[in-house]
Each structure stands twice: as structure tokens, then as C-alpha cells.
Symmetry: D2
Subunit: 363 residues, 4 copies
């Protein structure tokens, strides 16, 4: 497959552009019998929607999802589920000057080489963060499928913004995550993070951060050796989010500095079930789920669009240029990303649950 699709048995195909007519998603492979309406998708889209607080972009994107196939009498039919959001608040003029002047940190330069003068450069086109709405559309369905069929649940939340970092106990519900606009379940830390974002914005700069994601309720044995490991497929999906530059599982990079006796998770029997005492593995051994929570941490680089002068080149004139990115940009996208991470994790886990025969037939 070319690059617009992901998955083996539950396949998401993404289409659309930032400033085109729409962004859309087709999810193929969802079993028949899942109760589904636009509301199930809309609430996750609303979680990532901009314009909700002073720390995100002031663009107003209604982002109303429409299901245009695959649902009949309120349930999935087994046919591909197509969903679409019609674009409305696009202001493409701001991008006119960018056609030959690539913005540092953006896809502009390689895209103009790859697609030539035919590249839809407006708003980043196909490379825009806006395309993560298509991940959410497909992922919201996968999420509901997992919850209904297996009681599997993913919660993702912010643990770092810039240099403000916090260690949190994974929350049991998403409520504390969405109780503040930073999406950090630790309210005090959230306040500090918020301040850091406002300060970066004021200074004409931007910030990145880290999202932690925890998935509970998995059966043992999801994953397909040796190239379809859960880590392989999760990281592959997560790296489709623009700005992601690092993914680690369990003890991750820190674990690389520990010893085997520290990092191994001893097995034990608890309430009659085999589990581990610690969870440095992040719930995955040999690429397979072991039933403990899957824990993943995702690093987002700071937003590339900053209202400062930056050095670049004019590719038409083939000479140096100076650029000050205009438009309405988030000073930090991390608070909008937890639902995107939730969505992609759900897609991958649901796909593996189908591959492994844990979900099959009519629900």
C-alpha cells in the first residue's frame, strides 16, 4: 500500500488536505454490530479541536464529523465506514508566499522536491497536523470497539511541556486529564505548564512536550512475531503524528542505563492470575502483550511555526531568505494531542485483537 493506509485487518485510509474541501477517513474491517453514531466520534474530535482555550490556536474549526457509509440502523454493518469533516475556516492567503520559501521545521521543502509544483502547499496540505483528525475519526471507532468487545481502554495525558515535567500515577479515568486545558492529570503541574506555554507565546516562541499513554485490560498474547510486534506497530502508528520525534515503552531510555536485575519484572500470582510485580516492560515482552498496562511515552518537538524571523531559502531564486511565519498557530500542540494518541493506540490494539482472533464475527 502507498502511505495513506495503516493496519492489517482493521485498516484506516486517510484522505484530504488542510485547506482542501475536507479531511476524511475510511475504516475497513470493523465487525458488524457495533452501535455507532456521529456522537461517538465527535467527542474525541472535540477534545483535539482548536480554539478552545487561550493556549491553543484561535482558528475556529467546527470539525463536525459525518458518517457517510458503513452504518445502518445505528450499527456498523461490516462494510467500510467512511467519515468526513468538511473544511470551513481555511485562510489560504497566508500561505501564498510560502510556495517557494520553505518554513524551517516543516515538510515544505521535501514536499516541494517530491511533488514539484503540484504540491498542495496550503496550510501544509497533506502534512498538516489537521490530518490527525482523520486518525481520530478512525480511532474513535476502534476505541469503542475495544471497549465494547474487550473492555480495553487507553488513557493518554501530558507529562511534560517544555522544561516543566511531572511524574503522575496513571489516572483511572480520563476525567482528570480533561479537567484542565493542558490535559495533564496533575492540576498543579498543569498550571505550571500552562504558564510556560503562555510565556513562550508571549515571547514569540513555541514549546514541545511529552505524552504518556496507558492501555489497560489487554488479553495476553496480542502481537505477531517478529515484525508485527506491538512496539513495532504502535510506534509506526504514533510516528504518523507530525512533530513526534521519540517513542519509548516501559522504562525506555532510562531502562537502558539500569541493570537486568533492576529492570526485569519478576512474575507473581495475584488474585489467581499471573502478572508482574513491576512493569518496566511497559506490558510487552517479545513484542506480545502480557496483560499488564501498556505504557508508552511520546516526545513532541516544539511547534515549528513561530512568529520570529528565521533563516531559510527562496527555492525559486535559489538564494537565502528570511521568513516570519504568519497565520494562527498553536504555541504548543501537545495539549491537543492526547486524543490523537488514544486514537492511534486504539487502532493498533483493535487491529491486533482482530488478527489474534480475540474479536471476530458479528458483535
Amino acid at each position: 500500500m502507498p502511505g495513506s493506509s495503516i493496519g492489517e485487518r482493521l485498516v484506516l485510509t486517510s484522505f484530504g488536505e488542510s485547506h482542501g474541501r475536507c479531511v476524511g477517513a475510511v475504516l475497513d474491517g470493523c465487525p458488524a454490530g457495533l452501535e455507532l453514531s456521529e456522537r461517538d466520534i465527535q467527542y474525541m474530535l472535540d477534545q483535539r479541536r482548536p480554539g478552545q482555550s487561550s493556549i491553543t490556536t484561535q482558528r475556529k474549526e467546527a470539525d463536525r464529523v459525518e458518517i457517510i457509509s458503513g452504518v445502518f440502523r445505528g450499527h456498523t454493518t461490516g462494510a467500510p465506514i467512511a467519515t468526513v469533516i468538511w473544511n470551513t475556516d481555511q485562510k489560504s492567503e497566508a500561505y501564498d508566499e510560502l510556495e517557494h520559501v520553505p518554513r524551517p521545521g516543516h515538510s515544505d521543502y521535501p514536499a516541494m522536491i517530491k511533488y514539484g509544483k503540484f504540491n498542495d502547499h496550503r496550510g501544509g496540505g497533506r502534512f498538516s497536523g489537521r490530518l490527525t483528525a482523520t486518525h481520530v475519526m478512525g480511532g474513535a471507532i476502534a476505541r469503542k470497539l475495544l471497549e465494547k468487545a474487550l473492555k480495553v481502554r487507553t488513557i493518554s495525558y501530558v507529562t511534560s511541556i517544555g522544561k516543566v515535567s511531572v511524574q503522575v500515577k496513571p489516572p483511572k479515568t480520563s476525567k482528570p486529564v480533561y479537567s484542565n486545558d493542558v490535559r495533564c492529570p496533575d492540576a498543579a503541574a498543569a498550571a505550571r505548564m500552562r504558564k510556560a506555554i503562555v510565556s513562550a507565546k508571549t515571547g514569540g516562541d513555541s514549546l514541545g512536550g511529552i505524552i504518556e499513554s496507558v492501555t489497560t485490560g489487554l488479553p495476553v498474547g496480542l502481537g505477531e512475531p517478529v515484525f508485527g510486534s506491538l512496539e513495532s506497530d504502535l510506534s509506526r502508528a504514533i510516528y504518523s503524528i507530525p512533530s513526534v520525534k521519540g517513542v519509548e515503552f516501559g522504562s525506555g531510555f532510562a531502562g537502558a542505563a539500569s541493570t537486568g536485575s533492576e529492570n526485569n519484572d519478576p512474575f507473581r500470582i495475584k488474585s489467581g492470575k499471573i502478572t508482574t510485580i513491576t512493569n518496566n516492560s511497559g506490558g510487552i515482552l517479545g513484542g506480545l502483550s502480557i496483560g499488564t498496562p501498556i505504557t508508552m511515552r511520546v516526545a513532541f518537538k516544539p511547534v515549528s511555526s513561530i512568529p520570529q524571523k528565521q533563516s531559510t531559502v527562496d527555492t525559486k531564486a535559489n538564494k537565502p531568505a528570511v521568513l516570519r511565519v504568519k497565520g494562527r498557530h498553536d504555541p504548543c500542540v501537545v495539549p491537543r494531542a492526547p486524543p490523537v494518541v488514544d486514537a492511534l493506540v486504539s487502532l493498533v490494539i483493535a487491529d491486533h485483537a482482530i488478527q489474534g482472533g480475540f474479536i471476530r464475527g458479528v458483535l
Copy 2:
């Protein structure tokens, strides 16, 4: 595809088990006309072979590769290239007691749940680090293809072992990497790392570490938005290596704590070519190559097999158990992993070069 294959147009299919008759690889999609002999593969296998120094396992695995299809008159024919290593030095008795007593940190537990009593548990079976020999067999061919067709070159080397860490300037050739048995191009650091490994071994413990990988010479525009980004496909491949728990590109997790103005790489023209001043992006923007070096860092957890008592469970008796892993194990696998990283990076980049039309037809 089930899990044993990876790639779109250059597909590696891995087969075999640690203690079965062989480990093997089929590489499909390599163009006709590449000069190829066993020697081209053997030298990379030799780089990962155990038994070469006191800091790696004392198992003697000759690991002689045989090409059994796809090569005629010393060149590839366009047909799938099958390669095989016949297993020789396997001692399976050490694993007899493990059939119902999963080793902490290993795939034993989820594998016995997934495959039941039919799982080939000997030496980790399909999940063994030995299977990375199949990655190397396919990757060595991809590596030669890339070098011949595009002058693309990957060099991977160790930058951390346990708590000993070093920052190195990427070496121009692999010579300094392979001039010591730690595979760290900084000889002084290598000595300290070596000491750390010996000390861990003496203490009945094990270490992990970090490998850095740098790929140069890429054309601009490799990668397929949005799910076939280079980061997606590279991380997916790398996570097929047992023990890998973290992958980051460019400034990675550290970059998440910086600001946009610090982390963006300004463009400039150098010797008539567009490039960037810094390389915090790791050579990838929007999932596409930009022509600067692709830089990736890979975190390996410490070896799970340690000669210490560990808590586990007897799954047959369903009660706690204590295990002391026997056998001849590496106290640290990281020094053996650079050729595996080289191989997988080469596979992914060569696949994308074919997808992008940069390599096509008869060589």
C-alpha cells in the same frame, strides 16, 4: 501479512528458530544485476557473531550463510533471494526446565499463552535474539544495493553502556566502530564501557545501552505520507529487535524540552545545494528525507537472562517459583547489535528508494 515479513517493495521474510534446524531469510524485490556473493553477507554476520571476545557470550556459532536462490553467475536475478544459516551449537537441555517457568523479561510467558504447549521454547525459539541474524542476511543485501545504486551508507555505533555514556561525532567510516569490541568509535569511552560490562558480568548482572545510527547520502523526498513516514517505517523495523525499548530521531526526547527557535533547523545554501545549518530534525521533516543525515538513537534494555535467582511462577503448578537462568548468555548484547541496526535501516531505506522510484529496473 502475518508477522514474519516486513517491507512494501523490498520484503524480508524471516523463518527459523533459535534451536531448530536453521534460521533463514527470503528477500523479495531486489532488482536484477546486483553483484552478490556469500561474502557480502558474511562480513556483517561476523560483526554480530558471538564468541568473539570476553564481553560477549561464549557460544560458538559459526553462522555460515548460504545463498540458496536468486543469484546466478554472481549477480541477483530479480527473483527472491533465500539465505540460510544451519544451526550447529545448540544446547537445548538448559531450556527443559523453562517450559513451564517463564524467565522474567523474556517472551516465554506470553508465548506459552499464545501458542500453548506447541510453542518451541528452546532458546527462546522464534523470539530469540538469534533471529536478528535473519535481519542481517536480508539487510546486508539491501545495504549493498543502496551503496551501489545511491551511495547511501549507514553507520551504527554504541554511545552508552549502562551508565557510561559518550557523545561522539559520527564517524565517516565504520573502521573506528569495529576497532574495539564494544563498537564505540571513542576508544577511551569504549574502554570504560568494556569495564562496566566486565563488572556487571562479574556481579552476575547485565547491562543495556544506546546505539546511534547515522545514514548519509539520501536523496530528498524518501517516505510516503502519512503512515509510511521514514520515522514510522524505521521505528517499526528497529522495534523488531528483541530488547529495544526506545527509538528517537534527531533531537528526540531532549528536543521536546527545547523551544521552536532552538529546535528548528534554518535552511541555507551550501555549495549550491539547499541544506540545513543544524540537524535537530534527524534528517526527516514531514516523514520525508531532506538530504541531511538521518540520525536515530535506539535504547536497549539490559539483557534479561541473568545468573541470579529471580522470582517467577510455575505455570503448570500455578504457584510461585524461583529461577536462576542457566546457559551461556551475553552480559550485554549492545556491542553485537550495530550490524543489526545497520541492516534494518538499510532494508527500510532501500525499500523506500524503490517505492520512490530512485532505484528501479535492472541495475
Copy 3:
């Protein structure tokens, strides 16, 4: 992939239902730079549209295509091209009684077993001939791509309707095909076929027929041994058309009764180019194109919906039932199918042209 997609490097994903909101298609992998507008697709849709003559169904389906992604400034961008037709003239009441009473010859019965009560049975749902509009949407783009990039051209036409059969010399343009509503380039035979259809309709019955398809202008060597042969991929695509029950290439079934000396096509040099004297191979040897015209014949069974009483079962009551299919059905779909065959052949050939490196990069 689940079943809604076809192709390796040029992938068509189909969505929608006969009586749902729409039918749609996403084509991924089309290179940037192809001039494309709705008109390029609409003319092929018009060729298969019902309601055009007395021998096809009287349903009025405007079938107006909208391109909703992947085109910018009148050219493809390299991004997936999504197209959609909004359904308008659906009358679903006629299908109410069918929910538990499967129509002989239709997918109703296996679909109700496979998808249970969630199956969208209206108008055949996902199995309707209407879905071939999605093949045409994707295929019309592939067709234009092939014509532009390689001067490859497919012409498909009717050679049999019921027992009326004719042998025709492949026409050089599609003009004689579309000069009559039977789509047979032999006008006299077309008149007899038309009469047969009218007679079947009058008698409350239906007819099938045969379509021949000829593709010219191919380079030598398209196709990928051993499972990606042109015959494999063409037949696979063609069998996605409801009603198709036979596919043969070159001398096909008749050739099976001949001898090697009769059936072999001797090579010769003509105008400095190697070609064959006869074309019993249908332009394909060893699964690869040889540069001569690809000839394929496709058998369509008679339309299953007939206004006669037929024996069936009531699956709810689990007892025999008698059914007389209502609704507005074609007495023969074959005259509407040539553009569908054209479309699918174009998709497969274009995909192989991309796989083989004959089309690559920006057009």
C-alpha cells in the same frame, strides 16, 4: 487488507452502499501532475449509467461525481484522490420483504449469515452492481494516467448477449462501441442482441453475455512472477464485478483443445521490433506482458433479479417461500459493463506500470 481495497502501489479503496448516503472511492498512489477534473471521470460514469435506453433499468441515477481530495489547481498532487457520488433515486421499500427472504442468485443469503441482522440489505447494500461505480471512479483516473504516461489504451465491448454471439475485430477506437446501446462494435449483431434483450424482458426473464477487452500499447515486462502475474491480477480485479463467472485470456478455453503447434505464437521481427505472428497468448507469457495486445474475455451470468416467481426460503420462519423480485432491474447488465471492465483493467495495468518503474515521480 480487508476486502474493500485492491492494488499494490495504486490502491483503490471502495466505500458506500447501494441505498446508503453515497458510493465513494479513494485512489492512493497516483503520481502528482496528472491533469484531472470531474469531467474525466464523469464521461465513464455516464457510459455505465442506467436509464439511458429501453434495454437498461429505468432507474434514474444522476451519478454526478465529486472529487473531494487530491486535486489542486486542476492537477493531481500525489495525495489520495477521493471521489464520491451522492445517492438520490433510491427506493428502499421494495427491499423490505427481502430481509428474511433471500433472492436466488444474489448475495442476500450468505450476507445475512455473515453479517447477521446488521447487514444493510437495501438494494443489495454493499454487494450491489451499483458499487461498480466506485471501480469506474478510480479506474477513470488510472485510464487517464496510462494514456498520458504510456499511451496505453483499453477498449472493452460486448461480443455475446444470451445466445447471440459475434466475432469482431478489435476496434481501434471506442466510437463504434458506443454508437449503439448494446456496446457491440458490430452494428448488425448489436441489433440482434438488442432484440434478444427486449424479448427476454418481455418474457419476464433476463440474459447474460460476454465482454471482450483489448489493451494496446503496453511495454514488455509488466507483471511480477509468480503470484503477481498480469493474468492473476486482472482476473482478480474483474471477478470483483458482480455477475462475472468466467475470465479467459487469449485463446483461453478454446486453446485448451488445440495443440502446441497450433497455439504457440511464433516470434518475428516487424518494423524492427520483436513481436508475435499470432496472439493466442493474449499478450501475456509467464504472467508478463510481451507488447502485443492483452485480450481478455469475461462471462457475465444472466441478471438474477427476474420478475418471475422463484422458490426460496423464509430464513426467519425457516420454511419454503415463493418470491417475485420487484423493483426496476436491468434485463441484461452486460451493455452497462464495458466501462467497468475498462476501469478495472486500467487500474491493474497502471498499478503494474508503477510497480515496474514505467511510471514514476512527478508526471
Copy 4:
């Protein structure tokens, strides 16, 4: 995937060449727990082995299969099953003159264009009928899996050789098929077919023929709309057999000349189960199995290698040439093909049984 693999969840990857070191197959996706030994594969290989009678080639190919991975303690483990046959009786000299003189009817010409001077032309290389041994190796495993898990059974047999044709009632076992060396269950017809083959051989010519294949015991609902129909996937697989030029299901091409009232299969209840009175659909409606036998007919062209002078070209000298094919060739391959058809049908049906959740987990 490039062309050497087929399947979605049960994937066969073929490697090797006619005159190389071996032919081999890797089957990935077979569940753990299937009892399997070389014998299970060997008996089907023996059925297709040449040198068994005066009407097939006198080449002696021992064709001893070795299982080199994926089986432990006599059962499949869930890991890929690699099988290999080492080539022994190859005489490549006969092919020396063919390197620049393509044989009519063979892949020689397009292969030399596609792969240039690197093509392994010996014995047809990758395009040889010998490669069907790899289909049989994978298919024999699929066949056993289907029989064990679902009691599904495929029997294929010869119904036409040249102009000798017979209609047979599908046999209940393969015994009457293999009771004569033509593989036709009608002994009298087999004798006439045998005579026709001997006569063709004596006359320095060759014959083709038709194989019918019947698969019983299928559950309802195998197949994935719209591009993963059973007809699509079966025909795709069957067209990987060299010489196949036609595939039809149920009433096929003949059905195209009938009427809807004649061709529709009325439903009825028999022994409490829904089934059809006739089986013109060949057991497939809407691309899905309906539980009645799947019937398919496959047309094989006459063998291309004939010991007669044929016109061809010398591609090096670029001038006409005359060729008399040497070597030991079958005058008719059809009697050796039933196990190949059995194998491919089994592969496709088993793959769909896994996709549909009918086979899953550990056996």
C-alpha cells in the same frame, strides 16, 4: 508485496529456480497445533512428480521435501513453516542456446527484457512449471489444516485433454482420480485421453486440457467484499500456474448464454439446512461461499515446448531464427496439475477461513 507471495493471513512465499540449488516455500500464519510431518506434504508432491508414466516427462525428480522450520515435536508451532526441495536432476546445457533465442509460448522473451542479461534462463528459471512444487508444499499444509479444522476437502481432476472431453459427477474421494495416470475419474474417458496424449507425443506435438475442482464442506460466508471475493482470490491463485489461460466458476461461460430463470439456483431447506436445488453459482454468491460445493474449471494451454521447428528470433543478432526445443518435456502437463490446483484452492480457502474467524487460536 512483490510477486513471490500470496495470501492475507496465511501467506505463501515461494523461492527458488528450476535449475538453481532448490525450490522452497515459506508458509506464514498457520496456527499452532497442527500435526505435521514431511509425509503430509510428500504424498501431494508425489502426485505431481514427473517420471511416473510414459505420458509425462522422463525427468527423474526425486522431489523430497524437507521441513526446515516451524515444526516442533511433530506439530506446527505458529511460526513460519519453511520447506525446501533440493534440485538434483537438472541438465542445464539444453538451455544454453536459448539465452538469446526465446521459445514461442514461454516466458523467455519478456523475462529477458525485464531482467536483462541477469535472468536465470535455465529451464525457465523462476517461470518454470517446476515452481508449482512450491505451491504444493504450502498448499499441502493448508489442505491438512482445512481438513482437520473444518472438514473442508478439495478434489481436482481432469475432464478434458485436447479434444477429448467428458462430463463427470464429482467423485467423493480422490481414489478414482489417482487410479489412472491421466487423473480423470472416468476410466473409459481416461483411456481415450491417454491415447490422445501418446498420439500427440508421437507426432511431435503437445496438448492442453481442462481441470475441474470441487471443494466441499465450506461454512457459509467465506470471502470479503468487494475485492476479496472467493472468485477473485481463487482465480488469482490459479493463474499463478504456468499454462493456465481460463478460469470459470459454476456454469461459467456456458451460463452466460442461459437465462436468469434457468441459471438462478432456487433455495430450499434440506435436512433442516438452507441450500440450493441446483449449483450453477459454483457455490459462490456475491463473492461469498454459500455452503454448496465450490466448482471451478481451469483451462490449460497445450505445452509450449514441442520437438518441432518453430519460428522465433535471435535477440542478440536481431534476426529471425528457427528453434527446435530440446530437453525432456511433458507432451501434456494437465495430468500432473490436479494436486497443484488442490493446493492453491486449499491455500485460498484456508486463508479466508482464518480471515473470517472460522479458524483461529491454537488448534
